[in-house]
Symmetry: C2
Subunit: 133 residues, 2 copies
Amino acid sequence: MTKRTLLACSLLAIFSGGFVMQASGEEAAQQGKLLRHVVLFQFKDGTSPEQVKEVEDAFRALPKKIDAIVDFEWGTDVSVENRADGFTHCFFVSFRNEKGREEYLPHPAHKEFGQLVRPRLEKVLVVDYWSRD
Amino acid sequence: MTKRTLLACSLLAIFSGGFVMQASGEEAAQQGKLLRHVVLFQFKDGTSPEQVKEVEDAFRALPKKIDAIVDFEWGTDVSVENRADGFTHCFFVSFRNEKGREEYLPHPAHKEFGQLVRPRLEKVLVVDYWSRD
């Protein structure tokens, strides 16, 4: 292999490597961006305040059980535009990258939470996004 | 007014003041919590990528035009659970308090944005919450 070929190969490797990173979304992670996981709940009619509180507390307990959750907050809807479509709860979970989400979704603590929550929910909405300015 | 009455009135004022603060949600603001404003968009079929980009850029321009927006981020859906219900965009806007939201909603720049966006949207969902751990 000539020096020129070696240089060409090296440059190709650097550029294609850069491209793959960008395509996978991992580049965003490296720039300090987080993978946001927005979860909205509407509870079934007849779910008692105690049962709702139990779900809130169970979700709030997940960050202590699942290391992949690097940031967490939640709250109940106080919007004034009448566009919440029945959703009353928003949970805002952050992962460092896709690997974090891959760890979270099948995690035993998340599965156990799902079993508690699912029978009480009228509907769920989930949107994930890479945070950008 | 006796000293004792004065003391009782003072205590009553202090306690009732504290209660009003708590009830209004402003207490949360004073503890450094933010009022989160989560906006989801689904565009109408046939909206071109250029038209979508124009909406993204117009939303991104709002924090520079409206001081009440103290934090802003956005992204496009990359969820893997098939629960996004057709929503493709999430915009995550933060206000310091309800006054900030009262300033934002009728702000001329927000109204102008609405006129650009509304004809292009299939649906919108808005949930606001006070951030809590």
